[in-house]
Symmetry: C2
Subunit: 240 residues, 2 copies
């Protein structure tokens, strides 16, 4: 039982959130489950709704997440907003000294949506190969990517490619060196499954990079990739 100031200007739910935040940082590990809302309500001697309000705040901050029927869980990577913690940068995932790995989550042929078609200089609904990947560094998910390739240039792509570096595969099987000509960077909130795949809260931002790769020899667009980085785990460094 923790004492709360009932007549303080600081709201009770806010006091509770502070206590929980501190508890979590001191006594909990990522993946741990908090006491149930009912138990917390008893401990703090408040209504369960007040506990919910406090937990909402922690969810918003990215400290915990709720799982229906299971409990409220501490997230893997407590988010640190201090600028000092971001003074170490990485150039690319490959350049990280960390152990990296990649999972292929989806391989399909589909008609190109207008945006994809534009970037690849195709007609809308022309067939494109879509490959979705998840990349990790030290077991930690870093980014999910959707890669689009015009099928006309890559017969048998789906049959031949299994896993591993996409650009390496293209270089090896088709003999085409890829060159990045453009990147478009924006920040959005996570959509679809991205938050779950990156094990991050839905309230935290994503760095989204659209990149276009062309055949270095003749400039033909060969790949359009849309990569979503968990923003608190990555920072883009652009050298000019």
């Amino acid at each position: 039982m923790t004492l709360l100031k009932r007549n303080s200007t600081e709201k009770i739910y806010s006091q509770i959130a502070n206590v929980l935040r501190q508890d979590i940082s001191q006594h909990y590990q990522p993946g741990d489950c908090l006491a149930s809302e009912f138990e917390l309500a008893e401990r703090f001697q408040v209504n369960r709704h007040t506990i919910r309000h406090a937990i909402e705040a922690l969810i918003q901050e990215g400290v915990v997440e709720r799982r229906h029927g299971k409990g409220t869980f501490v997230l893997t990577q407590p988010i640190d907003y201090t600028v000092a913690a971001k003074t170490r940068f990485t150039q690319t995932l490959k350049n990280l000294g960390k152990t990296t790995s990649m999972q292929v989550r989806r391989k399909v042929v589909m008609p190109a949506e207008t945006g994809v078609a534009q970037h690849l200089a195709l007609k809308p609904r022309d067939p494109v190969i879509c490959i979705e990947t998840l990349r990790l560094a030290d077991q930690q998910p870093i980014c999910v990517s959707s890669h689009y390739f015009p099928q006309c240039h890559f017969p048998d792509f789906l049959e031949l490619y299994q896993t591993g570096s996409l650009h390496g595969f293209i270089q090896q099987h088709y003999g085409w060196p890829l060159k990045r000509i453009e990147s478009l960077v924006s920040a959005v909130l996570p959509q679809g499954d991205d938050a779950a795949l990156l094990s991050m809260p839905k309230s935290q931002p994503i760095l989204r990079v659209k990149s276009i790769n062309v055949n270095e020899r003749d400039g033909t667009p060969l790949e359009y990739a849309l990569t979503r980085f968990c923003a608190d785990r990555i920072q883009l460094r652009i050298n000019l």
Copy 2:
């Protein structure tokens, strides 16, 4: 009075949020005030807390914001997540065909924090000039920036500089051409006054760009700038 499906799988608060979202997009202008929570509760025949829940969702999406004692207001720029709407890009603010303007919000000399000192090759707490600016395009706030200059290289900076292009001023008064050598891009939620200055919701992401400018002749770091873009109004284009 709008009809709700009480026995639908779709939650009532969610149905209400949908109705309100549609109402707003069709019949409201940015800055308009919604009906009060009490009135909405009567209109939809639900408890006021259910209305609050629905409005929470709209706040999270960035559609509206609450102002204590005044009401719930439609935000200036309804956020559009469709990728198609982002296929027009801007290179820099100056290259926009739009009318741009700039406000200087703060001019002070302060001891350098460690991060700033590092980027400018100074010792911590060496004096730096800090200038905070807000830039607008067509009356719409686009970004806020904190510019840091080492005071040792810029005597009388604060006295001489009033407003207008910072790089133009430096070129003119000190004769130094600035060159950007590096940009670091990250995505965060707004901190401090940034959300208010950019008239954006606190739940929506910010694109943060740290850039370092050096004297083109000898490579001396002369400026460190931290710019925060309202992410739904800007996209960075990086040409390689």
